[in-house]
Assembly symmetry: C2
Homo-oligomer: 187 residues x 2
């Protein structure tokens, strides 16, 4: 059997919901997703050292169909970035095959790698929930990567939030999922 | 030089702010604390596997004055528990020297280990912020363990919240810090 292991790094500024996005992904995978009938393991980490100062932060997730003994993400399979300073901080920690998912406004630069521009901040504003750009990005990641289903993400979000926030987050997830599809079709 | 490494597990039910408490502690240690002039490293993890289902969850933190290569907490130095189901789930994952910090109402059982009863849920209600029992527990942990200063925790909280929540959280941290002292004096 082919073993599955995927790593995702979310990066952005404080207040952009980077940690929340990572937790939703990890919970969705482990609690509500299956891979060929098998349950998944997930670990979500925040690592802080002297280099953690500044406005940018990261939130890492590893998902596997086996127990995870090395949870650190050194070079993620997917890098999801919402802000330019976070892009600058983490863009060198990739592999040639890392797929980068960018907020089209929040990030100015473009990498020399496969990437997708997602209008997450703009769409979140349009659906009346400015803080939900993180969920738009997560929806897009789910569409592009196929790691988990959008339904699993929505179930994970519904465990975690208040009712109002839940509706916003669900709408944002679905919007991101749709956006990911659009950009894949174009790419 | 003596190396310092401490592990803390927060355990409770969904909605009790277990993850937030872990993140505040990790950020406080790495961003705002020093140990004999040296900066600290911290890692905060959520691990999920098939056993993660149910109402109880954990949030683990490792703090060290050296880079952390093994971030898993198997048997924590400090176990901070807010609810009885979480107590039952995690009380066997300890060492004889683990110090247990319990919410005096939320947890019914008492361990055969050094422990502190903290009236976190009650104090949080009294200061008008029912959701801040997690911060009362964190304040108590800080007093009892001396891992970080209360000021570092307050600075970390102030990075992360909205203004109203910040005031509640700061008040709850200070209240917990005071409670930890009371119970230490009695113990």
């Amino acid at each position: 059997m082919v073993r599955m292991k995927t790593s995702v790094r979310f990066a952005g500024m404080g207040g952009q919901g980077i940690i929340f996005a990572g937790i939703v992904l990890a919970r969705a995978a482990s609690l509500y997703e299956r891979r060929e009938g098998r349950e998944l393991f997930a670990i979500q980490t925040q690592s802080y050292g002297p280099a953690a100062r500044g406005e940018s932060s990261k939130s890492d997730v590893v998902i596997s169909d086996n127990p995870i003994f090395f949870p650190f993400v050194e070079r993620p399979d997917f890098l999801v970035v919402i802000s330019q300073p976070a892009y600058e901080k983490f863009i060198d920690e990739v592999t040639p095959s890392t797929i980068v998912i960018l907020d089209e406004e929040g990030v100015e630069d473009r990498p020399d790698l496969t990437y997708f521009d997602i209008p997450a901040i703009r769409r979140a504003k349009e659906i009346g929930s400015q803080g939900a750009a993180n969920m738009v990005m997560l929806g897009a990641l789910i569409q592009i990567s196929g790691i988990i289903s959008i339904e699993a993400a929505i179930r994970a979000v519904s465990d975690m939030g208040h009712v109002g926030a839940l509706e916003d987050n669900e709408r944002a997830l679905r919007e991101g999922f749709r956006q990911g599809k659009v950009f894949q079709a174009e790419g």
